[in-house]
Each structure stands twice: as C-alpha cells, then as structure tokens.
Amino acid sequence: MNPNEIVCNSIYKDLFKIRSEFPVLHQKINGAPLIYLDNAATTQKPLSVINAIAEYYQCYNSNIHRGVHHLSQKATMAYEESRVKIARFINARHAHEIIFNKGSTDGINMMAYCFNKKYLKKGDVVLISAMEHHANIVPWQIFGQENGVELHAVPIDSSGELNMDAFRSMLDEKVKLVSITYVSNTLGTVNPIKEIIKMAHRQQIPVLLDAAQAIAHTAIDVQELDVDFMVFSGHKMYGPTGIGVLYSKETWLEQMPPHQGGGDMIKEVSFERTTYNRLPYKFEAGTPAISSAIGLGAAVDYLGTIGMHEIAAYEHELTGHLMTSLTEIEELRLIGTAKDHAGAASFVISGHHNSDIGELLNQQGIAVRTGHHCTQPLMKIFNIKGTVRASLALYNTHEEIEDFISGLKNAISILKS
C-alpha cells in the first residue's frame, strides 16, 4: 500500500487501538517484538474475550440448564445468549441450529457419525476436495469403513484451485454428501462455495462446509449460501479454545440420531429406552465448555464492532501485500497461488528445510508455521514434505509484513553463509 494513499477502511484508523486490545501481541521474543503470523493455527484473544471468561469464573460460575438458583440461571442465560449471538453472526434461521462442540474437528466427526448412521450405505460416496485438512478426511474413513462408504477427492490444479469440471463430473448419483473446505488452511485458496452448493443442490446432494479458516476472514450468511451444514472453531476467530460450532439446518438435525448419550440430551430415560431432548440439546450431551461458549459470544461481539466487511477488505490488502512481497524473493516458490486467496500464504525455499527457516524466523521474533499443516495428501500433490506458512489476522500490519520479509531474507542469507 502506498503510505500516502487516503484510506477509508476504519481498521487503518483504529489499528493502534485494535492492537492494544490484544495483550499477547505486546511482548518481545528473543529480544525482538513479536510478529504473530500463525493465525491459521489459532488467533490471539482480545481483552473482551479474556474478561468474559474471567467474569464467568469470578462472578457466576455454575452448571447450566438444571439449576434453579441464581448463578445457574445467570450462567444458562449467558450460554444461551452466546448461541443467539452466533446464530445472528452467521444468519442462521434459528438459534437451535447452532450446536456447540469442541471445534471444527469435533463437528466433522459428529457429522461423520450421525450422517453416516442415518443416510449412508455401502457404495455411497462422500465427495471432498484434494485440499482438505485431515479433519475432513479421517472421520469419513473411520465411520465410513464400517459400512463401505467411499471417499472421493476432487482434484486441484497447479495453482491450488479446485478443478470445477472434475467436480461437476464427479457429482454423480452415488454422492450423498459434499464435504468441503471454504478456505484451504495450507494454500489459502478460497473455494467457489456458492457455485459448489448450487451444483450439489441441483442433484439434491447436501453440503457440509468446513469454515474453520473462513469464519474470521469473511462474512458468512448460511441462509444466503443455503448451506446444509457448517463447522467452525472458536479459537480461530479470536475466541477461546475448546469451543466450536456445528451449524445445521433444522430439518437435518431433527432427522439425525445423536452421537453421544448422557446428561442434558435426554427427555426421558428408563432402563428399556430413552427419548431425546429437543434441539439443540439432543446433540449436547454432558456439561459443555460453558466459559468458552460465553467467550465465543464475546468474540462474535468483538468482530461485530469492527465489521466483517471491513475486516475482509483490510485483510485482502494485507494478503496482497504479503503475496507480492514473497514473489520478489528469488529462491522462493509459492505453494498456492489461487486468484481468490485469503488468510494464509504458503511457500518453500529452494535448497533449505522449512524447519530451519521457521527456527531462524523465531529467533527474530516472527511466529510462522512449518510442516504439512495436517494436509499430507495435498503435500503429495505438490511433491513436497511441507511448507512455511504465514497467516494473517485483523491485527497484523503492513509494517509487520515488511519486517517478516526482511526477517525471511535474513534467514535465507544465514543459511546460505
């Protein structure tokens, strides 16, 4: 960005304030100011989230739903308010379409169990893409193996974009579910989700969207997308760890069996049989992560005060800056150059090991991720063992990108010397 350019995006004006709200960012690592570029792994938490969790434990810690006393009622109210906030955030039709769980992985595992149990039989196909995280591969193998359900992966091209012709041709009558990522955690590719959903729906095939890497970067309207299921994690959207969401259209949730039995999910239990509670409780057995759910509600509030469209526009500029700067490094090969790109930039440095690069960046206070990023099949496609991945959040700055590039050049020159 040209520093003389007049900027209208409010994040530029508020960046100092925004950064001041994230205590973790203000420290030195190995003597250098921390530059945190591992946001695709987890984002940092603003004070409002940290305070919401602390306030729950300090003021009204109690178990929810069953207590008649004041604290329990207050905790229940906060927990359920959080569900309403999240429903509004993604524009779900009903709050009971929001199922709290541990995170995206938990959500896909739940889907793999419930959907498989209710709808899938031998020879049926779950269609994924070649860029999926292991969390959208392994659960289907675990639960699908039991009844012979097959997993097929739509190929990608050399830039990391989904091959839509292949997708079209693979959408045959055997496909009973499309389960696909919105944004690739390794490549940063943004998949054409609207088109994918429309194509699948034309053949009455439901779609499960892994929005783990999209939820903090773009506004998502589940009704507009008409997506059937969607998972995301709290900790990748400035909320706490241990909490996530499965969104599902009400009709599917009514039909699918629960995946876990226990407290809160029942209507009536006898030794002979059990009837299940109404939605969403049918899918929330046991005491949930109450403080984390409340913290996630605070994270959604926080994102709301800044605005998802503002965030998307700001991060789009940051990502462009990052990608352009990376291409200027001679020995660097970008892994993932899709036209529609968000969040993460992955690369390898010719002749040098990713972990050496990561370690020398760490010595300069720069946090990136190195490795296969839980996408081993994708690494095989690119014929590499892993990448260095820099991933952005709304609190990152253009100056940090400059410092990262200079740190990266420094690391390469140290290794070459």
Binding site: G31, H353, S355, D356, E359, G371, I414, L415
Partner: protein, 144 residues
C-alpha cells in the same frame, strides 16, 4: 576427553558468542561440516526421528566404546547433531548410557529439548542412550 569435559568445552566456546546470530551461524556451519552419511545408512532402520526434519543414526561398538554417525535433512538439526556427536561419539558405552547432557541447557538451546520440538534432538539423545544401555534403536516421530 570425557563427556563432561567436552560439554564444558562447548559451554565455554558458546559463552563467548555475543548473540543468537553468531550462535546459529556456528551451529549451521557445524552442520555443514558434518560429513553426510553414506546413502546406505540413510535407511528407515536407522531413522531415529521422523517429523519435519529427519534424523538417522548409525553406531558401532568397538572395545567398549560407541562410535556414532548421524545425519539430518535440516541444517540446524544437523548442527545440533554435530554438537551431540562431539560430546558422545567414541565415549565408553556405559558412560553414554549414564550421561546427562547439560550443555544444551547451558548454551541456551534448551527449547530444542521440549518434546514438541520438531527437530528431534531430544529423540536423538534418548535414542543414543537407549542404544548404549539396551543395544536397540528406538524410533520416534511427531505429528506436526
């Protein structure tokens, strides 16, 4: 020199270095100078650590002493390997088995010994000590 004398020597050498850059340059240089293992030894049976960086170890016992060769595909890991081999290789088997490698902590490379660190130095040290005490190679890996 004994294991501890070698460790002390390294501690003195590293204590003279002023900053991380000098230290890492030295480690990387040691890694580059450590002869690569013959391709025949870079086999799965010698793979003591498999993660982002791989570590292969081959050892031979002669007159009660353990002579160790090791290699990695990452320079920094290979440099750390060179340090460990300088301290341990050629030492009596019994002393290797009972050794405590305090030099890594002393030269401020302790973070390389955390179990989640992907470069495998901890696994390599444990592996060499298991080799010395039990005569068998135990492989480890990570999931990063």
């Amino acid at each position: 020199m004994t294991i501890n004398q070698r460790q002390d020597e390294l501690i003195v050498r590293f204590s003279k270095m002023e900053n991380w850059l000098e230290k890492y340059k030295c480690i990387i240089q040691m890694g580059k100078e450590l002869p690569a293992m013959d391709a025949g030894y870079r086999k799965d049976a010698n793979l003591i650590w498999s993660c982002q960086a791989m570590v292969w170890v081959h050892s031979e016992e002669k007159d009660g002493r353990l002579f160790i060769r090791a290699d990695s595909d990452a320079f920094i890991t290979k440099g750390l390997i060179a340090l460990v081999l300088y301290v341990l290789s050629g030492q009596p088997v019994t002393e290797i088995a009972a050794s405590s490698l305090y030099f890594i902590d002393e030269i401020n490379l302790k973070e390389h010994l955390t179990p989640n660190k992907s470069n495998g130095i901890l696994a390599m040290i444990n592996g060499i000590q298991t080799l010395a005490s039990e005569g068998r190679l135990v492989a480890a890996s990570c999931t990063i």
